[in-house]
Symmetry: C2
Subunit: 213 residues, 2 copies
DNA sequence: CGGGCCATTGACTTAGGTCAATCTGCGTGG
DNA sequence: CCACGCAGATTGACCTAAGTCAATGGCCCG
């Protein structure tokens, strides 16, 4: 009933509309959800990190593609027994509900970003999000002053698709933040945040960091 | 335990962060969810129509403002007894889960619109969405050929905030569709769709209308 | 050493935002 | 009853952020 599957970076995990045989949770790596218009423009609509869940009780198809951004390992369960499990165990159902509501909040923050933020604000928000995430993972004792080393799990092109920009604009904004001394970019996959305060100001969000709350 | 409340058009139903005493469902009218940046730019992140639900089991505050777009009547329940109800009755919990997943799908479609569609495509998608909705409400026997009379529940400014545009751009795109004979705008609150096929082509979506599926 | 593949940078174009003038109803009070 | 005023809508002229197109650069891997 339970099995592990791995997908190399860049491969498709699920196609839009394909019937779902499994539900799964991400064990390691990063996967992305994306939607595409007829003419090929695409928009990422979600990022799946370890512990995130794929699949929807009571639905057997999804409305977007799921792609492995880095190498990904999933832990898969057959759908039917899983649904039976959900029906008997209320607190599993409740947990799934919470996950869905968290995703919904994240999706709404992203709508504000996509609809109203400038390119600069989008990049700042993206980096700030990664910084907060990595901070969560690390020792959360004292508030680790100012700055963090971030790993970018995606190419410029993928970042652009996530933020509703082009890859050139992403690159230019990285360069701008670097020129201003807010970040450093030692190699294409790494960003060193030199001045987190200034980065957060550049996000355009409320000073108190309402996004995470 | 159950009570009705009404809110005149334009008033706030809930403020972001305010503790939720009630959960509610919309009886009549249209309400909107919106998020605002420090400097006042705002983005609507959802529309609530009759039968939609406000409130989240297991959370007592929301991350956005809820505003009455038209006059709105809500049917409210106190939160604590409602949560107890949800816990004992699995199929209520399941129904809420489905609502959350529907909202999530809608949010993701909107992310594609906000991130990648042109102004023209945004307006076409908006009108097409209203047309599909009103079609659902009406006699759904035969597929009502081509065309429909739509009521706009919002001002140009609110439409702009929904679509991530400015009100001037909304107005210009309405005028463009009118000039092309695709719609007519007899008064500010009404739109007559003259050629639904051409409108749907202008949305940029897949020909088969994947959005609704 | 050579060839992809990303990424960066520059020059140029353009969709949509901004600012401002005018128009259209509609409710209100003289 | 009418004129006034106001809120929303339209339209035009202009500007700019970001997209497009194209050349170049660095890096990893065979």
């Amino acid at each position: 009933m339970k099995s592990y599957r791995t997908f190399p970076a860049g491969t498709e995990i699920l196609w839009r509309g394909e019937p779902l045989e499994y539900v799964a949770s991400v064990v390691s790596g990063v996967a992305s959800l994306s939607k595409t218009l007829e003419d090929g423009r695409t928009q990422m609509v979600g990022l799946l990190l370890p512990s995130d869940f794929i699949g929807r009780p009571g639905r057997n198809r999804i409305e977007f593609d799921v792609t492995a951004t880095t190498d990904v390992t999933l832990c898969c369960f057959a759908r039917t027994p899983f649904e039976a499990l959900v029906l008997d165990t209320p607190h599993v159902a409740q947990r799934l509900m919470e996950l869905a509501l968290d995703e919904l909040d994240a999706a709404r923050d992203w709508m504000l970003l996509l609809g109203r933020k400038t390119a600069r604000e989008k990049i700042a928000t993206f980096l700030d999000m990664l910084a907060r995430r990595s901070q969560m993972t690390m020792t959360e004792g004292a508030g680790m002053a100012n700055g963090a080393a971030l790993y970018l799990p995606m190419t410029r092109d993928q970042i652009a698709n996530y933020l509703g920009l082009t890859l050139e604009t992403v690159s230019r904004q990285f360069s701008a933040f670097k020129r201003e001394g807010i970040i450093d970019v030692p190699d294409r996959r790494r960003v060193l945040v030199i001045n987190l305060d200034r980065l957060q100001i550049a996000t355009g969000d409320d000073a108190d960091g309402g996004v995470v709350a």
